[in-house]
Symmetry: C4
Subunit: 211 residues, 4 copies
Amino acid sequence: MPSSTSRIEAFSDGVMAIAITLLVLDLRVPTQEQVAAANGDLVAVLGTRWPSYVAYLAAFLTIGIIWLNHHAFVHKLVRMDATLLWLNLLMLLGVATLPFPTALLAEFVGDGGRPAATAALIYGLLSVATALPWVLMWRHIRDHPELLAHGLGDDHARAELRRASMGPIIYVFAIPLALVVPLLALVFYLAISVIYAISSQGARVGAEASE
Amino acid sequence: MPSSTSRIEAFSDGVMAIAITLLVLDLRVPTQEQVAAANGDLVAVLGTRWPSYVAYLAAFLTIGIIWLNHHAFVHKLVRMDATLLWLNLLMLLGVATLPFPTALLAEFVGDGGRPAATAALIYGLLSVATALPWVLMWRHIRDHPELLAHGLGDDHARAELRRASMGPIIYVFAIPLALVVPLLALVFYLAISVIYAISSQGARVGAEASE
Amino acid sequence: MPSSTSRIEAFSDGVMAIAITLLVLDLRVPTQEQVAAANGDLVAVLGTRWPSYVAYLAAFLTIGIIWLNHHAFVHKLVRMDATLLWLNLLMLLGVATLPFPTALLAEFVGDGGRPAATAALIYGLLSVATALPWVLMWRHIRDHPELLAHGLGDDHARAELRRASMGPIIYVFAIPLALVVPLLALVFYLAISVIYAISSQGARVGAEASE
Amino acid sequence: MPSSTSRIEAFSDGVMAIAITLLVLDLRVPTQEQVAAANGDLVAVLGTRWPSYVAYLAAFLTIGIIWLNHHAFVHKLVRMDATLLWLNLLMLLGVATLPFPTALLAEFVGDGGRPAATAALIYGLLSVATALPWVLMWRHIRDHPELLAHGLGDDHARAELRRASMGPIIYVFAIPLALVVPLLALVFYLAISVIYAISSQGARVGAEASE
């Protein structure tokens, strides 16, 4: 039998792989009637839906980065206790729910009115809710350093806690933006993902993950 | 090649991870027409659908807890015989089917009439059907203690059988409630999950699972 | 790195776990309008859809049994060569496609006319197509006994080939039945699964799988 | 804890297994009204949708072949560094998105007009986008031969880079075809898959994968 940690990895990987792949269902195919109404110009019909592609990319990258983080995270632990198991499940709840605000955003952000602001706000709030369990997990590990593997000390846990705390803060700052210029909030979410992806931090996470 | 038990874990984890992630498809995005009819008030439109969010949370937690239990369960066995394999498949049938009554509940519980009662009843009956294979599995293990790992005796199997038997009983009690006040039954299902999650029992399961 | 066989198992398990869980999407939730048209009698509305539940159960059991067989199958091999990999992919194509004729059957079998016969026929033909790769795989193994593990000889491969050949034959016999009494064909498909499940053969597969 | 490479395999396998299985959702079941309008001739109604079956098969084989390639690919590496992790995620983005142009193609290719050409073009462009990360990955490995396992030298990386570069080129050639005769492009995509599958190259990949 594999260790418990590896089964938690397998279940978490499963949920993240499924959530990331289900996002494609939000890219809805236009009906033949809609295309006929646009004189058969499928490019034009798809073009009006560009916010849904940005939302798709932002959500895909977000889940991809969470997976990379989770990957590096699990490798720093010797085991997960009950608290970590539940917080991990809470984090997966956020990831599994992400296709819903992504679909909301894709549907309403193009109009730019109140529904667009609401959709961008809900996306932002869920992002905060998905980032929070990371803070709680690292706080728990800081207080239980015996969970840490590889001779990592509570110094390491404290550094990770600071880093994890940045996530919710960035998203909280994006919320007023979402209310005023929803489209910009969407671009901002995508930018966070891309910056994170190409930054040295992202690379470091990747490098650690690959060791 | 990994042991058979680990492949049963992998398949079971797969089904549970997919079922838990498919639940999000029941959170349907309102159409632009529906939002326009509410004067662009997306919050109001989403607000009328709150029972679907409670149903989503209850089902997510239910499957999450079943996964934690399954996790602890497999680690108490040296192997699964044919009977356990089939009972395990029966249990997975219950889990995989759960998105259906969840969607029924989400669609009809808000109205509070006969359809609401029917939906709550079906959810309750499927919950009983998902809890029953656990009783049968532990009864089979009690009669075949050679399947137990780690020097666990049939005392342990008897204790687990008593514990597993509580599940169907609790759900059976909720059924009359579902018929009279369907909304309350929904809250009750969620409460069972939450209580289980924060109770020491839940913690104990988690702790065992992480060892 | 795990052995190649274990990665083929992981991918195959993934496809089978997803296909078995996607089946639930065919159990469509009636709209509020449909229930209102039936005077709020949700039980009656769901009741008219009973063939879709039988189709769901038959398809769930079929994939479950294929998984059990695949489980036992892989454990009899030391490795898969290129031919087996492609035949395995062909078998997965059948499994992954099964939700489609199941949905067809659920939609049309209740009426009993020509569409019902067509749907039952397509389900039967796909079942034959899913059973055929097993015959081809065992024929290939009979001719390449060095792929067999555990000191199993080509006697064993020959026995398995005979057993695998029964699958397509049974389904071919069901095809004329599908054309005349489609509903009976549906019950017949379910019966095959149940008989297989409770028969000693099924138990033997399970027992081997659990060793 | 398993090695990082095995977890990347698990996540990649998950995404590929889900994407390949989600394709079946594009095979939409006709409504009872559509069949009634065709005098109950379900075969005729399904028959008009044959391009969606070709698109389904082409996409299924494409993902299946990418999985076989990925399988062989990972076994040639000792580890993935940060660059490979991100390129791998990019490749998975292409795979996970494939069900969308497949659905577009299925919906519009039958008509043969401008929408058909657009759909075939988008399918082709996404195929190029999915094939490009392979080129980038092998270029990176050529420049970092220490990532190669099993005593493979940069000769091997150079050969793989040439082979990987063929993918985008073939698809680029198909693009003008898509604009003129979209239906032929669809058949061409399927042919690429089939030829690849039965060619010695495909067999070689399979054989390596199974060692």
